[in-house]
Amino acid sequence: MDDRQIITMYFARDEIALAQTQQKYGEYVMSIAHNILDNVQDAQECLNDALLKLWNLIPPENPKDLKAYIAKIVRNMALDRYRDRTRQKRGSGQVPVALSEIEEIFPATNDVLSEVEQRAFVAFLNQFLQTQPERERNVFILRYFYLESVSEIAKTYRLKESHVLVILSRTRQKLKKAMEKEGYAI
């Protein structure tokens, strides 16, 4: 069943839409949640919560790309859950590792972007990513959107882990330069 049909079922409040979503994207969503939470049960709960949220959002939302839409939902949910879980202790999974990498270019600061600034930054990020070579861009997204481990990415691309690390490092540095050029305070 294609995504359009599934979305139509959501609009018709047909609960089969949930089963179809789970069947089509359940594994994909679970992998995102698991990368972040490093726990199968938590990832499963995240999947369930994401389906519920999807049910509540559509309608009125009418996503152009259901796969990306649910990926964003589950990612945010997993990160929220991760933060709740690790408020008192450092958690496992890929988040702390990815954070430590990113903090290489983002110093620890409490400055928070306004909503307008956030939108502008996301637009900048999209533009930056689109100008990167395909492999470098995908590696970066696999790492910092999907929060996949370096070894998983290396396996996907059949690269040495050290090679993946170098790609990530170079892309971070390019991002840093691009941000400086655009006047973002780093």
């Binding site: 994909y28 996503p63 152009k64 790309d65 796969k67 990306a68 839409y69 990926a71 964003k72 990612r75 945010n76 990160l79 988040v95 590792v97 990815a98 954070l99 430590s100 990498e101 990113i102 903090e103 290489e104 983002f106 110093p107 620890a108 600061t109 409490n110 400055d111 928070v112 972007l113 956030q118 930054f121 996301v122 990020l125 999209n126 990513l129 689109q130 861009r137 995908n138 997204i141 696999l142 910092y144 959107f145 999907y146 370096v150 070894s151 290396a154 396996k155 996907t156 691309y157 059949r158 690269l159 040495k160 882990e161 050290s162 090679h163 690390l165 170098v166 990530l168 490092s169 973002y184």
Partner: protein, 355 residues
């Protein structure tokens, strides 16, 4: 903005980018790809003639009696050892056999066929493999299953050189790998095709021997070809020691050779590479000479019908568990079967101790 907020905003990027990132194209063959092949094949230490890989889930092991790997005759295993073997099977979740030049294939304990365990081979071998199963030849498509294992570098090695049998225990994934010349080569008609059961029996027999005579199969952190004279001059060893002692705080040190540039780098903070001290061309030449001589030895010892030419080598400087430093080398070789003229690539995994 901080790292946490950046990660959150990454969640808002364009959906097309998100979806496309998962649609990974097959990598092209390139020098970088070849370099990657070396690493992927590093876990597949090939010494003997063409062999193949089989995966057997140990929990579902059959009750067949083990065979003697030299005589091929069935041998009895003492009850206690047998029990220990069962425990061993329970402890390790997966058993892998094989590793070859041209192809790889495997059979899990529940009969599922697993192929392409060493990623080197898709450059030369077809995307489909043939293996005998239950008396029939079956064609299987290429799938990757063991890549993760191959990227692991921590494993223990048991080796029986006389029987050309080697077992590695990955201490992280708890997978056990057998490298054995008893395995089949499904795409080379010169080599016999063995059944799953025969392969399984070899593995089972080895485990029995291992349990019955643990001293014969000591766990070590060493890898193939270690413990031999390394051929490096004292001066070079001193030079390495100086460099290593200056920077070594972990085993994450890479001797990096690329595009004619030679340098010693340290991996820091997940990927920041820092050039510490370059090696001289003379030093590298000496190391390459040692590698080349060892490659020759490997091939000459194994089977004179194979000739080879050295194509490329990557190096990694690492600290072993006993505190010694070593250069781990992954020479990429072009191997030619003198009889048939068939040419293919192979990669070796070598260790040269520096102190």
């Amino acid at each position: 903005m901080n790292g946490t907020e950046f990660l959150r905003l990454m969640g808002e990027i364009d959906g097309g980018l998100i979806v496309n990132a998962k649609d990974v194209p097959a990598p092209h063959r390139s020098p970088a790809w070849r370099r990657m092949l070396i690493i992927a094949a590093a876990a597949c230490l090939v010494v003997g003639a063409l062999t193949a890989m089989i995966v057997i889930t140990m929990r579902e092991s059959p009750d067949a009696p083990p065979i003697d790997t030299e005589t091929n005759e069935t041998t009895d295993v003492p009850g206690t050892a047998d029990t220990q073997v069962e425990e061993y099977f329970d402890h390790f979740s997966t058993l892998l056999i094989g590793g070859d030049f041209e192809s790889s294939c495997g059979v899990s304990g529940n009969g599922e066929i697993v192929l392409g365990a060493t990623t080197t081979h898709d450059t030369q071998a077809p995307r489909e493999y043939v293996m005998e199963r239950n008396g029939e030849h079956v064609v299987f498509s290429y799938v990757e299953t063991c890549t993760e294992f191959l990227y692991q570098e921590k494993y223990h090695v048991y080796e029986n050189r006389e029987k050309r049998l080697k077992i590695r225990v990955n201490v992280y994934t708890e997978q056990v790998t057998f490298f054995t010349s008893y395995a089949p080569n499904p795409i080379n008609p010169e080599h016999p095709v063995y059944t799953e059961q025969e392969l399984y029996d070899v593995a089972y027999a080895f485990l029995c021997q291992r349990v019955s005579d643990p001293e014969a199969y000591q766990v070590t952190d060493r890898e193939l070809f270690d413990g031999e004279e390394d051929g490096l001059s004292d001066e070079l060893k001193v030079e390495f020691s100086r460099m290593v002692n200056g920077i070594a705080t972990s085993d994450s040190i890479v001797l990096y050779v690329s595009n004619g540039q030679i340098g010693l780098y340290k991996m820091q903070n997940f990927g920041q590479m820092r050039n510490v001290t370059p090696l001289t061309t003379e030093q590298m030449s000496l190391i390459e000479e040692v590698v080349s001589s060892r490659v020759e030895k490997v091939y000459r010892d194994v089977d004179p019908k194979y000739s080879f030419s050295h194509k490329d080598t990557t190096y990694k400087l690492m600290r072993m568990s006993d505190g010694r430093m070593a250069i781990r080398c992954y020479p990429l070789i072009e191997v030619t079967n003198v009889d048939t003229g068939t040419t293919y690539e192979d990669a070796l995994d070598m260790l040269i101790y520096l102190n």
